[in-house]
């Protein structure tokens, strides 16, 4: 059922992210270039990366579908997770640009180094969503799969009487010295 809920949330969120992708991309590019002390060119601003925004929608759908977790936890996971994903996307962009500048200054790198750099940046993008979700909400949604104890302890309401102790077994006769 989690998958059905996730797909149900992901579909409209994908549409929302699609419409916001241009704005999100331009914001990311402007901040990333600004961090490097550069001005973004028209090509950098116009070549919109649709998957960057879609990743946010996918994560939001996973959080909203996770009904086993308490609502405050889900909201916290949503807000914090989205902030982390935006930070990761920004860091990936800055890292990629720094690497490109370094490569240009050094007259080019070996193809294997280029591919490794590109794949590691892609890796961070792909795995950040499931890893953040697992860290934030995994112990509720995967409790049965990993045979985890319940995530929350029972809380005694103030003023409630304590549960009486079970009667102890009678002691043997005392020895007198």
């Amino acid at each position: 059922m989690w998958f059905v809920r996730c797909l149900a949330w992901a579909t409209p969120l994908a549409g929302v992210c699609y419409f916001l992708s241009g704005f999100y991309h331009r914001a990311l590019v402007t901040v990333a270039f600004g961090l490097l002390g550069l001005q973004p060119g028209p090509d950098a601003l116009s070549n919109v990366d649709l998957s960057a925004a879609n990743v946010l929608g996918m994560y939001a759908a996973m959080c909203l579908a996770s009904l086993r977790a308490p609502r405050p936890r889900r909201v916290w996971a949503l807000v914090l997770g989205l902030a982390i994903l935006v930070t990761i996307e920004l860091a990936s962009g800055v890292t990629a640009m720094r690497a490109a500048m370094l490569e240009s200054a050094q007259g080019g790198w070996a193809p294997a180094v280029d591919r490794t750099r590109d794949q590691m940046i892609e890796l961070v993008r792909w795995i950040s969503v499931p890893v953040i979700w697992l860290v934030m909400l995994g112990r509720w949604e995967l409790r049965d799969a990993f045979r985890l104890p319940p995530a929350s302890r029972p809380v005694t309401a103030p003023g409630a009487t304590k549960t009486p102790r079970a009667p102890q077994a009678p002691r043997g006769p005392r020895r007198r010295h």
Binding site: W2, F3, C6, L7, A10, T11, A14, G15, Y18, L50, S51, N54, V55, G57, M58, A61, P111, A112, R115, T116, D118, Q119, M120, E122, L123, W126, I127, V129, P130, V131, L134, V135, G138, R139, L142, A145, F146, R147, L148
Partner: protein, 172 residues
């Protein structure tokens, strides 16, 4: 005087099976991505096999496709198969998750192979849907491409992992 009782030692975070799973997951995914980067022949082979699978599937569906290298054409529409068009990424995600979960080796092997086949078939269907969208409603292609490629592919890998979890028993 009685000695003060020692406070109970804090359990290591690695004692938590979920923490171990997440750490192993990241490690296996990083290793998988590194392997793809260092051995480009893997990616090239997967792209070629995906293009040929799609061509065969389109022929079976009666759409009369053409194939030139990695370019599949149907009527006036054509689709170049690149790395993102393959099931490589969702397969890496699934294999990593199966390998990281504390199950018996046989269960992992079966889960990995069945998952690869399942994702391959899912990917071929996904590409057929994309080609049909490209032919009938090209304005929707960009949206459908990102939605079907990223969101639905990752959910498909997660769904196959969840199915396998119901069958595989964790070992302590």
């Amino acid at each position: 005087m009685k000695a003060a009782p020692r406070s109970a030692a804090r359990p290591s975070p690695l004692a938590n099976p979920l923490t171990r799973f997440v750490l192993l997951l990241v490690l296996y995914w990083a290793a998988g991505w590194l392997l793809i980067a260092l051995v480009p022949a893997i990616e090239h082979r997967v792209i070629t096999m995906t293009a040929r699978s799609l061509f065969l599937a389109l022929r079976v569906a009666g759409l009369d496709p053409g194939i030139t290298g990695h370019l599949i054409s149907v009527g006036r529409s054509s689709l170049e198969i690149v790395s993102e068009c393959t099931s490589l990424v969702p397969s890496l995600l699934l294999i990593g998750a199966v390998a990281a979960y504390p199950a018996r080796g046989r269960a992992r092997l079966i889960g990995g192979i069945a998952g690869l086949i399942g994702l391959w078939l899912f990917n071929v269907v996904r590409l057929i849907v994309l080609i049909l969208i490209l032919m009938r409603a090209p304005g929707w292609f960009d949206f459908a491409h990102v939605y079907l490629w990223q969101t639905v592919s990752v959910l498909a890998a997660a769904a196959l992992f969840a199915l396998w979890l119901r069958w595989a028993q964790p070992v302590r």
